[in-house]
Symmetry: C2
Subunit: 381 residues, 2 copies
Amino acid sequence: MKKILAMISFCAALSPACAQEALWSGHGNEVSPVIEADGRVTFVLKAPDAHSVKVFGDCIGVAPVDLAKDENGVWTYTTPEAVPSEMYLYKFVVDGVPVIDPLNSYINRDIANNTSLLIVPGDPGDDYLTQDVPHGTISKVWYHSPGYGMDRRMSVYTPAGYFESDERYPVLYLLHGAGGDEDAWCENGRAVQILDNLIATGRAKPMIVVMPNGNVGTQAAPGYTSEGLIRPTVVMASLSDDTYVQSFPEIIEFIDKNYRTNATREGRAIAGLSMGGGHSFKISALYPEMFDYVGLFSAAVGDPASNADMAAKVKAQLFGKDAPYYYIAIGDKDFLYEGNSAYRKWLDNEKLPYVYEESEGGHIWRNWRQYLRTFGSRIFK
Amino acid sequence: MKKILAMISFCAALSPACAQEALWSGHGNEVSPVIEADGRVTFVLKAPDAHSVKVFGDCIGVAPVDLAKDENGVWTYTTPEAVPSEMYLYKFVVDGVPVIDPLNSYINRDIANNTSLLIVPGDPGDDYLTQDVPHGTISKVWYHSPGYGMDRRMSVYTPAGYFESDERYPVLYLLHGAGGDEDAWCENGRAVQILDNLIATGRAKPMIVVMPNGNVGTQAAPGYTSEGLIRPTVVMASLSDDTYVQSFPEIIEFIDKNYRTNATREGRAIAGLSMGGGHSFKISALYPEMFDYVGLFSAAVGDPASNADMAAKVKAQLFGKDAPYYYIAIGDKDFLYEGNSAYRKWLDNEKLPYVYEESEGGHIWRNWRQYLRTFGSRIFK
C-alpha cells in the first residue's frame, strides 16, 4: 500500500495531469506574472513559434504593449514603473488572438469575458487577497421567487463565527450592475475577501452579505440554468420591468427565515453598483421601513424631478421619519456622473442628508471595491 | 431616470465590457464549440494572423488535430463522428501556445490547469448539466481542525428542501485524489449537478455531501490561502502523514454539530477517488462504527498482506459485526488496477462481501463521475 501511494506521489510530482485528466497543462518552468522586488510587474509567455505577443489590461495602459522574445522563445514585458497595489485583469494577444495567460491559474469571469487575474499586495490589494484570518462561508443558495414564479440563485456570505455562535447578525444586501449576476460581487468585487479582512481587523461589524441576481427574469448566472452552457449575453437593464424591485421583500423574507438575522431596520443595509445602485435607490424608497443604510455606488440615478412619485417617496417616507445613512459615491469620469450630480442637487435642495465620496476614474470595479470597503466599514455601528 | 437606465441598456448591448471593466472580450459573432445537428462537434477560432491552430482534448483523440482556415481568418475543425454524451475538456494551440477557447466562457480548473469545458447532452451528460429541477446549496465552509492546528476549507452540499424542512439528512463524505482539493468534486466531478439531478428524479435519496481538502497540511485550494495567488503545485500524497485520516472524526463532528444530519452509521457514507479512495479505505477501517457505505473509486489500495494491522481492522472491525455496503470500481486500463485486483483477491479469500464494477479506460474523471452516479444511487436505501 505504501508503495502504491508512493508511486502516485512520484507520478504526480512529474506531471499534475498524470493523476487526473491526461491533458497537457501547458506549463513550463516559467512563472507569470512576476511582481519584481521593485514593484514592477513582468508578464511571461513561452511561445517560440509566435510572431507577435502583446499584453493588455488595466495595469498596462490604454493600448496593448508588445512583449520581447528571447533566444529560447520566451516573451516578456516588464512595466516601466512599479504597479500600485490593486486588483488587475489582463490578457495576452498571441498572433492576434486574445488569450488567458497559460501560466496563471487565476481567472476572473465577468459576464462572458474571462481574463487573467493579478492582485498586487499592499493597500488596498491585501484586502482582496485571502489573509490568515478567520474566514466566513460563501454559499450559492436557491430560493423560490413568487414574484418571478421561478427558483433563483443568490450568493450568501455568513461571517466567521456564525457556526459557533447563537448571535443574530445584520445583513447587507449587495446588488450587481447590468450584465453582472449573483457571482459578480464575489468575482470582480472580491466581496468574500474584503468582508473577511474588514471583520477580522475590526474595521467592520460581523455581518451577513446577500448578493442576489438582479437581472430581469433570470434564474442564475450563465451555466447555472437549464439553458445549459450557452454563450452568456448581457441581460438588458430595464425600468419597464419592476418585478425585481417590487418583489425584493421576498428575498429579505427568505433570508430572515433561514439565517440568524437582526431582522430590523437597524440591522439592514442595501447597496449596489450601477444598475444595482439604481435598484438600491428604488428599493429603499419603496420600502423605507426596511433599510437604515443605503449605498449608491456609481448608481443609475438621475434628477427625481423626472419621477415625482419616486421623489415623494424618498422625501416623505425614506427620509421623512428617521433618515438612513445615505452614501453616494462615484468616479469623476463616470458616465453616470451627471445623473448623480442632478440627484445630489435635488437632495441638497430638499435638505436631505447624505454622505458623498468622489474618486478618480470611470465606471470601474476598482472604485466599487473601494466603496464596499468604505461603506462596509461604516454600517451597523 | 428611465433615460439613464435605457442608456446603460443600449451601451451594454453594444459591448459587455462597457458597463463594467473596459477589457476587450475577444468575442466576435463566432460561436464555439458548436454541437451540430448530427452530433458532431465543431471548434471555431477567429485568428486571421495565426499560422497554425490545433485543438486537443479528451473529445478529440490522442494527438492534437489541425483546424482549417477560411478566407475570413476563421479556423474550424469538426469531429469526423458524433461525439457521445459526456463532459469533455479541451484547449486550442495557437502557433504553439496552448490556450483556452476565447469563445467559450466555461472553464474547468484542475490543480494548476485551466481547460475549456464542453458537455454534450444526453446520457450521462444531462446529469452533469443544470436541469430545471429543485437545486441544493453549495457552500465553501471553513472549520477549525485541531488535528492540523489550522482552519481548513471544505465544500458542503445541502439538498433542495433543506431550508424548508426540519428533516435530518444522511451524509456522504466524498474525497478527492492527489493534486485535487475541496473544489475538485464540484469542478471536474460535477457533484452539485449530479446530486441535484439524481435526487430530483428519485434515483438518490436527499443527502448532504461533504467534500473536504485531503492534502497533507493544506488549508485550502490554491488562491484561498494566505500564500496568495501562487502557482498551484501538486501536494504529494503521503502515507507517512496520517493526520488527515486519523483526524477525520473532527470533520464529522463539525458537520453533525452544524447541519441537520442523521448522525448514525446508517446515515453515513464515505467514498473517494484515487488517493481519496485510499483515504476512504483507511478511514472506514479505522472508524468502522462510522460508515455503513464505503466507495473505493480507482482507489489507491493494494494487498492488505503488506499491512497486517490494517487488514485485521478491515476484517475484524469493519466487516466483523455488520458489514457495510462496500463498493469497488475501477477502469480496466487504470494504473491502479493491479493493486485493486490484489485487494479484491484478499477480500474474496476472506469471504468479505463487496460490489465490484469495472469500466473502460484509465484513471479518469469520466469514470469517477459515473461511479458517483452509481454509488450515490445505491446508498441510504
